[in-house]
């Protein structure tokens, strides 16, 4: 009997996944057994692709069992490849086709109100994530994956980056801490990741290691697309070093805070009011603003409490944050609505921006509303509000034409 590897998930409640049992044998060719709830529709194609993959990795004798609960082809391939690589090392990769829709890049200063965490080993949550229109999706290789599943999650995340359409959401991956995190990059960087989240960031040197590895991989694959970094501050030391971290490299576009680990590090507990994290959150906001990047708040973990979430976002916005994480798609709308400028804010901004344009047309150096002078930072904030309102369809593109007539 040869070595046996298993990957994936099976059992009650498992959907869109499969469980692969692979045993290498000395002779007898490939013994393939497929049990699938979509056998009538896809049984033949599952069998065919499995044989192709085994052949690709040079496996001629093996016993393979696939227990399929409706997994997409790219999921089955990831599970099988992970099982194979548990038993035999290989430099080869069996990749699903990179979808054309997945080739986009993202701007440094794009909206990052919401970013949806998706456990890196749960395919069923990935497939429809993009339809809920988060600003970003995070394929999480770190805390959302059980330690013994971290290897196989890499293949699933890689295949998802190639084959799952996230409908314009910024494509993010949270890598692991330390050496494992650096290795994670090999599985994701070649497949058009827009942004890498770096957990438990305490020192700028951590960013350096990540960036060096990204550069190496991009050179190897001849890629020049921007890969942004979002360090996550999750400890007392991280908070103290927030500014050096935020300002260390040019491709750091946002600084996030993770409050579960931070409060644990402080030896306290997270509360609804958040008094215990006020300092840390303010530090992160200040450091990010000082470095000219976006400050991003932690997740709100009670997915049933939409009103609590709304209050939380409003506090977050008041503190100066530009966005927050979410762990359930239904949180996205609440987060977007609460970060969005209010009708009053938009009205006020319209007046100021209108006066600003008028002053420019007239060649005036000073913007005035009635008899009141408007300072340049106020104008800048009003312009930001208008831009946001436009992006979020809260204001018509040609608003100034109709505004003129009021």
């Amino acid at each position: 009997m040869g070595a046996i590897a298993t990957t994936g998930n099976r059992g009650k409640g498992v959907r869109s996944d499969c469980f692969v049992t692979l045993e290498l044998t000395d002779q007898g060719g490939i013994q393939l057994q497929v049990e699938s709830k979509v056998a009538v529709m896809y049984g033949d194609s599952i069998r065919k692709e499995t044989l192709e993959i085994l052949d690709f990795f040079g496996i001629n004798n093996a016993s393979v069992k696939i227990e399929d609960s409706g997994a997409l082809s790219l999921v089955i391939a990831a599970r099988l490849e992970a099982a194979i690589k548990k038993l035999i090392p290989s430099e080869k990769n069996w990749l699903p086709a990179m979808q054309d829709e997945n080739r986009y890049t993202t701007a440094r200063d794009r909206n990052r109100f919401s970013r949806l965490y998706l456990p890196g080993n749960s395919p069923n949550l990935m497939i429809n994530a993009g339809i809920h229109k988060p600003d970003g999706i995070i394929l999480d290789l770190e805390d959302a994956v059980a330690p013994d599943k971290k290897d196989e999650a890499r293949f699933l995340v890689r295949n998802a980056l190639c084959g799952i359409n996230f409908y314009g959401a910024e494509r993010m991956v949270r890598i692991n801490q330390g050496e494992r995190g650096i290795e994670d990059l090999n599985y994701i960087i070649p497949y058009n990741v827009n942004l890498v989240l770096l957990p438990k960031c305490e020192k700028p040197e951590q960013l350096q290691a990540v960036n060096e590895q990204i550069r190496k991989i991009q050179q190897k694959y001849n890629q020049t697309n921007p890969v942004w970094i979002m360090p996550i501050i999750e400890s007392a030391l991280g908070v103290i070093n927030a500014y050096p971290i935020a300002s260390f490299t040019g491709n750091t576009v946002a600084l996030a805070i993770g409050l579960e680990d931070y409060t644990a590090d402080l030896g306290t507990r997270r509360t609804a009011e958040g008094t215990e994290s006020f300092f840390a959150r303010s530090m992160v906001v200040n450091a990010a603003r000082a470095a000219g990047i976006q400050p991003i708040d932690s997740v709100f973990s009670d997915v049933g409490d939409m009103e609590g979430l709304r209050q939380n976002v409003l506090r977050s916005k008041a503190l100066g944050f530009d966005g927050m994480g979410c762990i359930h798609p239904r949180q996205i709308v609440v987060i977007h609505e609460s970060f969005a400028p209010t009708p009053e804010e938009i009205e006020k901004a319209k007046k100021i921006v209108f006066a600003f344009h008028k002053a420019q047309e007239l060649g005036l150096g000073v913007v005035a509303l009635g008899t009141k002078m408007i300072d340049p930072p106020v104008v800048k904030r009003a312009l930001n509000t208008i831009n946001l309102a436009l992006k979020m369809n809260k204001l018509a593109v040609n608003w100034r034409e109709s505004y003129d007539q009021i």
């Binding site: 869109s16 056998a39 009538v40 529709m41 896809y42 409706g70 997409l72 082809s73 359930h328 798609p329």
Partner: protein
């Protein structure tokens, strides 16, 4: 008796038999095309002289009542499904028939549920020849594998009434399980331990069957008020310890969905209705019991509350959410076919604005109109839809028969029929080139709402025009189909033999499609 014979291609392009269980059948001719001449069936004339003057029709037990009613080989016995999965009566009838060695019965339920799985052994041993009605779960599987002796016939709730009324199906013995009844046979479903709400599905049975047996576990002195079933139709009354399992009758499990994907479907469906101008002060809608349909009701409520509008009526299946709308004054009337929880039962019993209906008032196509065509918005489900908007509710993409039609076909006559369905379930694409089985012709299905876009039937140029500048993702059905197949891969078709194992009837009694034996 020939199971099925003389196949022809009908107006839906499907090959269907014109001989079904030895009797001639008309192939589907198109929506509203088949208009039979002649007269309805009529029950035998009865005489008061043959019934007890004191009105007491109680018989010692079900077996005796069945024997008195003329239980014998080859007859048709009907039951109804008001107790859903908590029914304790239907199986007992066939236990008795089996014990007496009776053969070749036709079971004519208004629907079947998982609790009826024991019927498979009576289908196997010949006690039951076939089911005409619905074949759910295990019974469907049994049928699909070609094991049923006779040919299965699937009818809608309205089609069931029509078939009895038109004389297509003659019921020899109707057994009406009633949560409350008096000795005379008057009965209702709103009181008693097995309270289920209305008894409308048993109306045709009471009116047209040769013999009618009312079975109850809550006998009250005359009069049983309200009398949803009149004792004047009833031959015998049987009292039992328990006729249904309450928690399975009103399961209370129909809750608003928590699935973000389904909530998105609900949100888009409601938004679509609003943007297309389908919601107005005095509009009407059909509320389904599924999680998605319930959530749409919540969105409707928000819109109505905000604008101080009211729906004139809602068509149930009712449950606590719809009752809440009624009690809040967002809906003026509930016209109810069945109640799905105790709030529904209570409301129907106590609130004159919550009224019971039968397939005669709501669905029967061979009547002088029915109110399903008066409903503005109808929200329905489907197992599959094809690029011509034809939809399937009875078979799955693997070819197996697993569900009945229910009132689904009948509600298609509403003014705007919307199907919120996921583009794929796990890996099963829902939009196909051609549905495995046609249950509803595409011309009656207006809008398909999926999580990746909304397709409007090209026949509805009015809706297309109204949604021209919508912020919702309006796409063609072909685009949606292509996207589903891009994600899942193109599915292989199920393999069937030539043998027809069941047919799907259209609301007018014509044969819409055939279901064939699967190659397993």
């Amino acid at each position: 008796m020939i199971k099925s014979d003389k196949l022809v291609t009908n107006a839906a392009g499907r090959i269907v038999p014109t001989i079904i269980n030895g009797k001639p059948a008309v192939p589907y001719m198109g929506v509203g095309k088949y208009k039979p001449e002649g007269f309805r069936a009529a029950p035998k004339i009865a005489s008061c002289a043959d019934f007890p003057e004191d009105g007491n029709k109680v018989i010692a037990n079900l077996k005796e009542a069945l024997l008195k009613a003329g239980l014998r080989d080859g007859i048709t016995i009907s039951t109804h499904h008001h107790f859903r999965n908590g029914d304790l009566v239907a199986t007992q009838i066939f236990d008795i028939a089996h014990e007496l060695g009776i053969k070749d019965l036709m079971w004519y339920p208004s629907a079947s549920f998982p609790c009826h799985e024991p019927m498979t052994k009576y289908l196997e041993d010949g006690t039951i020849n076939r089911i005409e009605g619905s074949m759910n779960g295990a019974l469907g599987r049994f049928t699909s594998e070609g094991k049923m002796k006779g040919l299965g016939v699937l009818r809608s709730h309205g089609g069931r009434y029509q078939a009895v009324q038109d004389g297509e199906v003659h019921i020899d013995i109707a057994v009406i399980a009633a949560p409350t009844a008096d000795q005379f046979g008057d009965a209702n479903g709103v009181n008693g331990p097995a309270a289920c709400g209305p008894l409308g599905f048993a109306l045709a049975d009471s009116q047209y069957a040769d013999k009618v047996i009312v079975v109850t576990d809550n006998l009250v002195p005359f009069p049983c008020i309200p009398w949803q079933i009149n004792g004047n139709y009833v031959d015998y009354v049987v009292v039992m310890d328990q006729i249904g399992i309450p928690e399975k009758i009103v399961s209370g499990t129909t809750e608003i969905t928590k699935s973000p994907d389904r909530l998105l479907l609900a949100e888009w469906s409601a938004k679509f209705c609003d943007e297309a101008g389908l919601i107005y002060d005095g509009f009407s809608f059909q509320a389904g019991a599924g999680g998605t349909a319930l959530s749409i009701g919540i969105y409707f409520s928000e819109i109505l509350r905000e604008r101080k509008w009211k729906a004139r009526f809602a068509r149930g299946g009712s449950n606590k959410y719809l009752v809440k709308m009624l009690e809040e004054g967002l809906v003026e009337y509930i016209l109810d076919g069945q109640t799905f929880d105790l709030d529904g039962v209570r409301s129907m019993r106590d609130n004159p604005h919550h009224t019971w209906t039968s397939p005669f008032t709501s669905y029967n196509y061979h009547g002088k109109g029915n109110f399903s065509s008066l409903v503005d918005i109808v929200i329905l489900g489907a197992t599959e839809v094809d690029v011509n908007f034809n939809a399937n509710v009875v078979t799955h993409s693997d070819g197996y028969l697993l569900h009945g039609i229910g009132g689904w076909q009948n509600t298609l006559f509403g003014k705007c029929v919307i199907l919120p369905i996921p583009l794929f379930r796990d890996r099963m694409p829902v939009i196909r080139d051609e549905v495995t089985t046609i249950c509803g012709p595409g011309e009656l299905i207006d809008v398909i709402v999926t999580e990746r876009g909304i397709a409007i039937n090209p026949l509805r140029t009015d809706l297309i025009e109204k949604m021209k500048n919508s912020s919702l993702p309006i796409r063609t059905i072909q685009e949606l189909k292509d996207e589903g197949e891009k994600i899942c891969g193109v599915p292989a078709k199920p393999k069937f033999t030539d043998e027809v194992v069941a047919v799907v009837k259209w609301v007018d009694g014509t044969v819409l499609d055939s279901i064939r034996r699967v190659v397993s």
